[in-house]
Symmetry: C2
Subunit: 309 residues, 2 copies
């Protein structure tokens, strides 16, 4: 027998469904066989590959960067909405609406080259730690999902991350952390401008955000970047509903799954009434259509990687 | 000795440069070695992988489709700019400015699902033939470039097509013709809208075009879709200049190349004064910086695939 490809998943119906699906699409000369180039998976990031409570990790980065910038640009302390956020800290950040957060992203993540931005994010990721778990964020990823990504890759399923978070942010760590290369990360983007500087041509980041919207924005972005329907889609919130609906409506074998955060002890528990990552309509659809629901508390024997911090 | 990977390329300086570059980046334990995930190539389509004279092949498709549509929507014959184009044929089409052509694309390539559009393009590609060469367009590709794409893939260089032509158009044939999967095709896009129809959720194409502009638009799109600088870039016109400049300015080994159309007998000859695919400033830059210039007449012993039509 080959070793268990998903050791952090408890034996049971969920794990069996994942493994059975991969076996079906890779068994040649059957009606369910899918040629390797068509094995496209699209996977949400926040709340599916790493936590999104109490707020998205990119927003924590933006907040830390706003505080740093305020040292060199003190006028930010007297300008709204920055003043409120700097004074109120993360407690205020989690209450903000998307348009205010976008103002912060525009102010803190523009005016530098794409390479400079990547460097800033990379440095932050080595330092910043989640206050509850005390881990750097690249060790705050879900171990069972890392195993699933490995298992899919070993079976020639190409996984794309599809997230409302900035693609430029996720791309900094996705290759080392998830083994997903930058060109398989789809997310919100900031406009860049070609500019010839001292070190030759660079792309400068401008304060204009093209948001990859939740909901219908995900299938639209998948078509734009990938150009075909996935055969597997994995999310955790109502923002993933249309991605899953569009995926499962394609012909041939399909797997769509939702991660249900049911584990307040080891991670978080939230669903129908959460401000961040609400899971309500998609949960009803999953129940009604027998989509795969991953129950974190019962399906995972491990949440975060065992070693390292 | 291993067989020649580029049999349609004449022995000489150009072929040697291509092969030497691939050997350098793949020889481990040398300073020029590039790990496989970083081996990204970006390659223009029109004029680099297939002809663009007398006009871009997508425009020929749009013209044929306009004529078909006029049978079911006769009012198009009385509406400008469609009337002029239908009456004047391809001779008029080649004289049109980009904004007029975009009006034709919007009218002829929207109002259907992404899958329906792909089907229409696929059918056209089996029927339409280039008037000069009498070939279907998928057999009007450059044999030496097919060999180069194969050679790069065999050496784990991942090639992306980066074109101002519609990604949705190129993706229909890129996998079978170039062995480049849809997710490695970057081009202009039409807005799509998520819609639940009789066959379940589909993406409907709307008459709004997001043009991937020539020039600075190419590095900007490469960063947006791929997220890093290529190590190899290949184009044929001033529209590729910024892509090549940005590529060659990265650190480590780089190869940038221009296809110079010098072969009026077997294909076309044009450069500094052509309306389509003008090659002027980029040619000066290539001369000044010792970029690779592929001379079609002398570097290629074959232009189109030998078999089939």
């Amino acid at each position: 027998m080959s070793p268990d490809p998903l050791p952090s998943w408890n034996d049971g119906a969920t794990k069996t469904r994942l493994i059975d699906f991969v076996k079906r699409i890779t068994t040649e000369a059957t009606s369910d066989f899918v040629p390797a180039p068509d094995r496209i998976a699209t996977i949400d990031n926040d709340g599916t590959l790493w936590p999104e409570q109490p707020t998205c990790i990119q927003f924590v980065f933006a907040f830390d960067r706003l505080k740093s910038l305020a040292h060199v640009r003190p006028e930010l302390r007297d300008t709204q909405p920055f003043q409120t956020v700097i004074d109120g800290g993360l407690n205020v950040l989690v209450t903000l609406d998307a348009d205010v957060i976008i103002e912060i992203l525009k102010a803190t993540q523009s005016g530098m080259s794409t390479e400079q931005f990547s460097q800033i994010v990379a440095e932050w990721l080595t330092i910043a730690r989640d206050p509850r778990f005390g881990r750097v964020y690249t060790r705050l990823v879900y171990q069972p999902m890392l195993e699933l990504l490995d298992y899919l890759r070993a079976n020639e399923v190409k996984s794309f991350i599809v997230s409302g978070t900035g693609a430029d942010f996720i791309r900094v760590f996705a290759e080392a952390t998830y083994r997903v290369p930058p060109e398989q990360v789809i997310g919100s983007t900031m406009r860049t401008e070609f500019s010839v500087g001292e070190a030759g041509p660079v792309l400068m980041k401008k304060p204009e955000v093209e948001v990859l919207g939740d909901g219908a924005g995900k299938p639209v972005a998948i078509d734009k970047f990938i150009g075909r329907r996935p055969i597997l889609a994995f999310g955790n919130s109502d923002g993933d509903k249309e991605m899953l609906e569009w995926t499962v409506a394609g012909s041939g074998p399909r797997l769509v799954a939702l991660l249900h955060h049911t584990d307040a002890k080891r991670e978080w528990a939230y669903d129908r009434h959460s401000k961040v990552g609400r899971l309500d309509k998609a949960l009803d659809l999953a129940d009604a259509n027998d989509w795969t629901i991953v129950d974190m508390a019962t399906d995972w024997n491990t949440v975060f990687p065992r070693t390292g911090s």
